[in-house]
Symmetry: C2
Subunit: 443 residues, 2 copies
């Protein structure tokens, strides 16, 4: 009798249990293992998940989590081809071997959960095409916005809308730096150095401060919001290195804060997309203006919903583990309902690439700061030059002097970026213009 | 050849098409019909949905939408039992006949989409029990937060967390009134009258201003966040009628704004819940403090995610139609994947009632305003009385005079509400105390 019961329990566990092969036990891996190993008070379906294999580089390294013997292995290739594994959870980061392992896992019929924005934004085409052919799911909630549920709403609930615009603060490091520059009046270099000391910025901060990380993320969000793949090299990326405390102070006076925004926009259904990352003057009353520190926020605008915004921690072990686990949960639920037919809201529904407009075609407001030699006549000359290229000005502020030079700040009305650049080229050749130290876009 | 093709097309359409029976063509019904009738640029699955029947009170009333002949009917009972109907979309509002029609539809094997917070918060037990028995889904995204996707994240992605607290601004009318009182320094009665004139408040504003609508919504959110049904009569509801412009001004000086918050909280997994609605002093730096006007926001706190917030339009035809349509889309996707087994993330997973602590057991900070006759000795007497009941004070402000009376405002540290009430009862019997015109909780 006892034997039979035990046997039934084993069969039941075999039947319902979903076996994970996790790749990587860094910060996010450790957080994910901790969450999945301690399920009380969480969704009961999590109890049906087994961490079956966990691939690491070294078996001897001290770990914050303890796992049953035989789970840890250094043979990552064996995990992605193990017939017992149902879902491969890729938490290695970086391009290789992450990309190859994901592709091998797909070829072996595994479903994929990944937090890897770099791989998805670069190799999404290859990965989703392979996944559709193999009939497996690829889940990427943790790739953008840390713990904030934004991928799933974009794929599911918000997709009944015609999305116009997705605007995100999606890089915590740069938002932290800009927030401190704003509140302390400090320079970029000083705050960056301190952020590196405190662990909020990497030793090599390029991916963050040059907008590349945000570029990966907005490429992913744009592909979901507008249903077309994105060539990453067509995403315009401008970082925050050139944002000065002078500009932050002027922006403040004019009623703006400066944020690194990642924007994807489509004015009409047939128009090319605008997908871009750049420091932006944001009106203080705008919902994104008050998102400070390492927090992320994503504002989605569409018809008929209007504006919705998602706000939360953009990184960190716990937040990212929440997103990774939510993807695992969604797969377990979908597989319980059907292993025969996919749920179309969890699969990737597009295959074509979206057309992306070059940055010269962008129509936006601009903020520009000029240092001029000869103050009295210079505003007239600026005005003439702007008029020639169809640039109209919303405000002109003449403020201080820098030695012999006067400082003039202008905010334009909407203008085509290419036209504005032509006007600036002509202005910079004027004898009375010393330099144009700042040029920023205005939301 | 042509005949065969047509036949195949017909079969295919029969096979994939999902037929809706919509009940009600008011604001939300009209918005939903408009969305579903104009699918270009939206999720392609929406094209597989057919508005098969639409139940209205009058066939002769002029409508903003045009429907094929035979779709409109006044026979709502026939819709919910029609064998052709797959999903019944209940947009009637009110308790009856909405509740009966939902139950009949469930009994006839229909899946349900409803925006009806009043029915779900009162009869959720009956409805979800019937739905689980019948093996159908009941979807309620539009019942809370208008267009904001919050029900689905709570049921799905966020459910991997141990939720501690859900705090919402979930009633647009009261948030509009409080925002105007704050910015204009106006009184409740004046702003309410103007809001009624402008259509932001109902002629009978009771459900909104007395916190009952918010109570319905927090009961629903609490049941999802904590996995247990809620007895609505155990939800403490206090509205905003007694919030005075004096208190808003004092709160402002102390660094707070006053918001009508709906809160559901659980300190430990085994502790009873606290579920309540009341005007609350919110610190200005808190994410909910800057949610103004008719907007809604829901802040979810849990382990390990930390804080995430959802923000958007809390009402309106377009926003609510987006939420209703997203539920329909989720059902179409789930039914395409499997009609045999339910997706466990879309079903209701709890059957038991949660234990709810009485408001006396709440531990919170308080704001209280006293009018006193005899200023010099009175603070000492207040202090003695507070000390006797374990109330410690965070700040005491003596401000103005009202004729012969002095005004004293205190903010306490955390204290058990029952103890604080006892202290106040004793204080109000003191000879030097004229009255205690205001008592508010502090976040």
């Amino acid at each position: 009798m006892l034997t039979l019961q035990l046997l039934l329990v084993t069969i039941e566990a075999d039947f319902v249990g979903i076996k994970l092969g996790i790749l990587g036990l860094g910060t996010v891996g450790t957080g994910t293992v901790q969450l999945l190993s301690d399920t009380t008070g969480r969704h009961p379906l999590l109890e049906e998940i087994e961490i079956y294999r966990l691939g690491v580089r070294s078996l001897t390294k001290l770990r914050e989590v303890s796992l049953p013997e035989g789970v840890l292995t250094t043979d990552l290739e064996a995990i992605v081809s193990d017939p017992q594994v149902d879902i491969v959870v890729e938490l290695l980061g970086g391009l290789e071997p992450a990309r190859s392992l994901i592709l091998k896992a797909i070829a072996a019929g595994k479903h994929i959960v990944t937090a890897n924005k770099a791989v998805i934004s670069r190799f999404g085409d290859e990965i989703f095409t392979a996944a559709n052919q193999a009939g497996v799911y690829v889940m990427i909630e943790a790739a953008v916005g840390g713990g904030i549920p934004v991928i799933q709403p974009l794929k599911q609930s918000l997709s009944v809308n015609r999305i116009h615009t997705v605007t995100g603060i999606v890089n915590g490091t740069t938002n932290y730096i800009l927030t401190r520059m704003q509140t302390e009046g400090s320079s970029f270099d000083d705050v960056l150095a301190d952020a590196q000391r405190l662990g909020y910025a990497e030793a090599d901060p390029t991916a963050d401060v040059d907008g590349l990380d945000a570029g990966d993320k907005i490429a992913i969000l744009a592909s979901l919001a507008f249903g077309g793949r994105i060539h990453l090299e067509q995403v315009y990326c401008e970082g925050i290195r050139q944002v000065s405390k002078t500009d932050i102070a002027y922006a403040e006076k004019l009623g703006f804060v400066i944020k690194l925004l990642a924007i994807a926009q489509r004015h009409t259904i047939s128009a090319p997309l605008s997908v871009r990352v750049h420091p932006t003057l944001v009106p203080k009353a705008h919902p994104l203006a008050s998102i400070n520190g390492v927090y992320n926020a994503i504002l989605v605008e569409g018809e008929p919903i209007g504006q919705v915004m998602f706000f939360g921690p953009g990184a960190g072990a716990g937040a990212t583990a929440s997103a990774v686990s939510s993807d695992i949960l969604a797969l377990v639920a979908a597989l319980k309902a059907s292993t025969a037919k996919p749920n179309p809201l969890l699969t990737c529904r597009h295959q074509d690439y979206s057309q992306i407009a070059p940055i010269e075609e962008l129509v936006t407001r601009f903020y520009a700061r000029f240092l001029t030699k000869d103050q009295p006549g210079v505003i007239g000359k600026l005005g003439t030059c702007f008029g020639k290229y169809g640039v109209s000005l919303e405000s002109v502020v003449q403020t201080g002097f820098h030695g012999e030079l006067a400082e003039i700040v202008v905010v334009t009305h909407d203008v085509r970026e290419g036209d504005f650049r032509q006007a600036l080229a002509e202005i910079s050749s004027l004898e009375s213009i010393d330099s144009i130290p700042s040029l920023l876009r205005v939301l």
